[in-house]
Symmetry: C2
Subunit: 139 residues, 2 copies
């Protein structure tokens, strides 16, 4: 039993490594190797709330409006977001993710997808079905 655990450990260690490498590739592919965890978190928040204004983001993240202004300025500079003026209210700007911003915001899913792709390349359909059946039992 101990040996099985060791083998499992080794095998999963490898999987986690692959995913981590995919993640790094995503960031450096976007020219953002040193983006911070906080910044990624904020991009995810913007992604999760489709229609987000400065005031709304300030409320969601519990930050002040000037903080959001500065953050968005940086993201614009990094080409992760852009401002879109509302047609209904001349004061309002929506914060929109660029293509790059979306990639970063979804880096977690994207790197996991890459891992799944890699697995699909190496495994046949039976293997995958078995894998799904087995792993479904883990809570």
């Amino acid at each position: 039993m101990m040996e099985r655990k060791e083998h499992l450990f080794t095998v999963f260690e490898g999987l986690f490594k692959i995913k981590s490498d995919c993640s790094c590739d995503i960031f450096s592919g976007c020219g953002l190797s040193d983006i911070t965890v906080k910044q990624i978190g904020y991009l995810k928040t913007i992604d999760e709330h489709g229609e987000v204004t400065f005031s709304k983001l300030a409320k969601i993240t519990r930050n002040s409006k000037p903080t959001i202004t500065e953050m968005v300025r940086k993201f614009v500079q990094m080409e992760c977001v852009y401002r879109e003026r509302s047609s209904d209210d001349g004061r309002i700007f929506y914060i929109r993710l660029t293509e790059k911003g979306q990639i970063i915001a979804r880096s977690e899913q994207n790197s996991l997808l890459k891992l799944i792709e890699k697995m699909a390349e190496s495994l046949d359909e039976k293997d995958m079905d078995d894998l799904i059946q087995i792993l479904r039992k883990v809570r």
Copy 2:
């Protein structure tokens, strides 16, 4: 095939979540919920090099000695390391990990181990063997 990938995605998403939660538990269990990625990295470096002095750590990490002094001061404060004076040379201090420091340094392995334990609880021996056989094919 697409459906299999989706199922795999879902199942692995769950596994990654479990591991991530284990990781967070480890840090907050040590009273270090807000330890930085850099700090964890340095503790790992200290862990990997058994016998490490200030000069050596400065060399390994490509930092200046005062930087190491300050970093170690913080880690001492966080109760992650302690200084051990060399008996051979009064100038030399070894940087040693405390129990807590070791836990943090090995948080990656520890959280993965917790995940493996959790899996061992849910799976019988055949399942585990199958799992190992299947996942071994992934490169």
